[in-house]
């Protein structure tokens, strides 16, 4: 008698979990996106009306704001995380653990609580920043609260650790002797970065960037709490369709479009990343 493959058996619980918790709900959402507008069952005649409506009614705009916000957040986080990772990996010594812990700890606090904290900090008049400056120096300052900039700041604040830690892994893969050899051979700082450090740290940077991009694309609390809904992001638009508009099919179509956009970014990058190399660190 042929014995079952132990690999398949080991994988089975996760496979069942992923099927039930991930694949089936996504399929249900995809099916809803093909149902007639403002209907609540899955037995209608399939139609692409909702996709046509999504483009005709300007839903590209929330999708654009989400994509722009996610791209800007990823870029800013990468720029900020690179020097931080280098310092933590090579220069901070015994302080590295403490600093890493300080950056990691806020992740364990609810995102909404942290964003409300930031809102109180930025609030004009009696806010922490404006109030303190007024009390200490007698100077009244304005605020960026309820603007796109405030929302972007919130996105960077929330997602920075998701870029930093994978990048830290990547940076720690850079052998010091290669950097020293390049310097001995007369390479400039830029050349060392371009030829040695960036290629070697790229898998970590790519993983961090992907995590940041995907999470930022689906974020809405930053725009709600800090941005005063200065713009509508795609997750808000989806929520509006499902809730107040009672229009599940259009909400589902917008969800599918967002998933497709995410996949279009994630899969090409994932194909180029050697995750094993990071894991073997």
């Amino acid at each position: 008698m042929r014995r079952p493959n132990p690999g398949i058996l080991t994988m089975l619980p996760v496979l069942v979990f992923l099927l039930a918790g991930f694949v089936i709900p996504i399929l249900v959402v995809a099916l809803y996106s093909l149902m007639p507008p403002r209907t609540f069952d899955l037995a209608g005649s399939p139609t692409f009306t909702n996709y046509a409506t999504a483009f005709a009614e300007g839903y590209w705009r929330p999708l654009m704001w989400s994509a722009l916000g996610a791209a800007a957040t990823t870029l800013i986080c990468l720029v900020l995380a690179w020097p931080t990772a280098r310092v933590l990996a090579h220069l901070a010594g015994r302080w590295a653990t403490l600093v890493t812990l300080l950056i990691a700890l806020p992740i364990f606090i609810s995102e909404s609580v942290r964003l409300f904290g930031l809102a109180l900090f930025m609030m004009p008049g009696g806010g922490i920043l404006a109030g303190s400056i007024d009390a200490l120096f007698g100077v009244s300052i304005g605020t960026i609260l309820y603007t796109r900039l405030a929302a972007l700041l919130g996105l960077v604040y929330i997602h920075f650790p998701f870029v930093l830690f994978p990048l830290l892994l990547g940076v720690s893969l850079i052998p010091k002797d290669q950097v020293e050899a390049a310097r001995d051979l007369g390479a400039s700082g830029w050349q060392v970065f371009r030829e040695i450090e960036a290629p070697l740290a790229a898998p970590g940077a790519a993983v961090g960037a992907l995590l940041c991009f995907v999470l930022s694309l689906g974020a809405n609390a930053e725009m709600n709490i800090l941005g005063g809904q200065a713009v509508t992001v795609i997750t808000n638009a989806i929520e509006q369709r499902f809730n107040y508009a009672q229009d599940w099919p259009l909400g589902a179509a917008l969800t599918v479009l967002t998933v497709l956009l995410t996949a279009a970014v994630v899969f090409p990058v994932l194909k180029r990343i050697d995750v094993d190399r990071l894991a073997r660190r």
Partner: protein
């Protein structure tokens, strides 16, 4: 100094309590989780298995999740209660539609949903009239049985028990805008170009649609003409573009009023300000206009109806609960539910009214309560809401 103290107290409040933005603006993870649950329930025709044996499951606004109410019920009956607080009325209607009738025993929603959506869709069950109609006799006169919103369209079935009710229109800083002027000006206040960027919007979007109708001179609950839609769109775009901020969290708007960033916001009312007023911020003032386009009225009066979900697993205990919450002590707790003070229909009884302190009645602007109700029409489902909402949502998207 006193103002600073109040500001600090407000800032120190746990923003996650009550009907705050965490519930109203769920994070992406919560939203996706909810969506997946609804989708799964729709697919399989049921929700997760419900534990039986003296446990009641409430899908409710915050008042019925007050720990004092839950403890009192446990002391009285030995039964326990679990609950989930609504994100919005339509979201919970969605959830029941998606199969969660197997999960919940009790649902507490604003008045039109039971009569116009839940009962026709078979999502709630009717109550024995001989047992529950006498409860209406102990409420304010306007609820005299048969009360329109508590009955099915055919007038045969009693669909729930009325409890919390109030108007919900707009809020001003009474230090900047006198309440008398605001009531007189009504919704035109937000049409005034000088007022641009001086107000916020509490994004309870179905309410915003009704308010914009009022501002455009349209009865939100009447049939609309082509001109009405044009007027609605122009008003929606102007009001949304002129708003200083839009948020789902009234604590943020109250703080913005206190900070002087804005002088008013809609939609709002005692629901959104009593907590702050109880803490002494009495310049937050609920306004119901003296007049408006809804049959001459400009205010909107919501009435919560408590109903029994058509859950095959529900027993008699949900009926006992529906009756018990109208008793003086539970009714008083509901009025104070989770720190959010609101009037209840049982305040018609001196025994219930006497439980409220002078400060609480002042926070509720109780001296103006009859006037507010008198100047309001009862909340209803808006005809052609879908079209109006799409115009509103397009205006929101066009804001940035």
């Amino acid at each position: 100094m006193r103002r600073d103290l109040k500001l600090r107290q407000l800032a120190a409040r746990n923003p996650l309590r009550g009907r705050s933005s965490l519930q109203l603006a769920p994070t992406r993870r919560q939203f996706v989780a909810g969506l997946a649950a609804s989708a799964g329930a729709a697919m399989f025709g049921c929700g997760p298995a419900r534990e039986q044996g003296g446990e009641l499951a409430l899908l409710t606004w915050d008042a019925y999740a007050d720990p004092r109410l839950l403890d009192l019920w446990r002391d009285r009956t030995g039964g326990s209660i679990r609950y989930e607080i609504h994100i919005s009325d339509p979201t919970s209607v969605n959830r029941l539609r998606a199969g969660e009738t197997a999960v919940w025993d009790f649902v507490n929603l604003n008045n039109p949903w039971a009569r116009k959506e839940l009962w026709p869709a078979g999502l709630i069950r009717d109550l024995p009239r001989e047992r529950f109609e006498p409860l209406y006799g102990a409420m304010f006169e306007k609820f005299a049985p048969p009360y329109y919103w508590a009955m099915s369209e055919d007038g045969e079935h009693l669909l729930g028990v009325v409890q919390r009710f109030e108007t919900f229109d707009f809020v001003v800083n009474s230090d900047v805008i006198s309440p008398g002027l605001a009531k007189d000006e009504g919704w035109d206040l937000f049409n005034n170009p000088d007022f641009a960027n001086r107000y916020g919007i509490l994004a309870y979007e179905d309410w915003n649609v009704m308010d914009i109708c009022m501002g455009a001179g349209i009865d939100p609950f009447g049939e609309k003409t082509g001109d009405d839609y044009t007027a609605f769109e122009a008003t929606a775009r102007r009001w949304i573009n002129n708003a200083r901020m839009i948020t789902t969290d009234f604590a943020q708007l109250n703080l913005a009023v206190i900070n002087g960033e804005i002088d008013a916001y809609f939609t709002g009312g005692t629901y959104s300000i009593t907590s702050a007023r109880l803490e002494g911020v009495d310049n937050l003032y609920a306004i119901t206009p003296y007049r408006g386009p809804a049959g001459g009225k400009g205010g909107i009066n919501w009435i919560e109806l408590n109903s029994a979900v058509a859950n095959p697993g529900s027993g008699e205990d949900v009926l006992d609960f529906l009756e018990w919450i109208t008793e003086p002590e539970p009714a008083w707790i509901v009025a104070n539910g989770n720190g959010n003070l609101q009037p209840v229909s049982q305040m018609a009884q001196p025994e219930v009214l006497s439980k409220f302190t002078t400060e609480q009645l002042a926070a509720l602007q109780w001296d103006e309560f009859d006037e507010r109700i008198e100047n309001s029409v009862e909340f209803d489902i808006v005809p052609d809401y879908d079209r109006l909402y799409d115009i509103y949502a397009a205006a929101i998207r066009a804001r940035g």
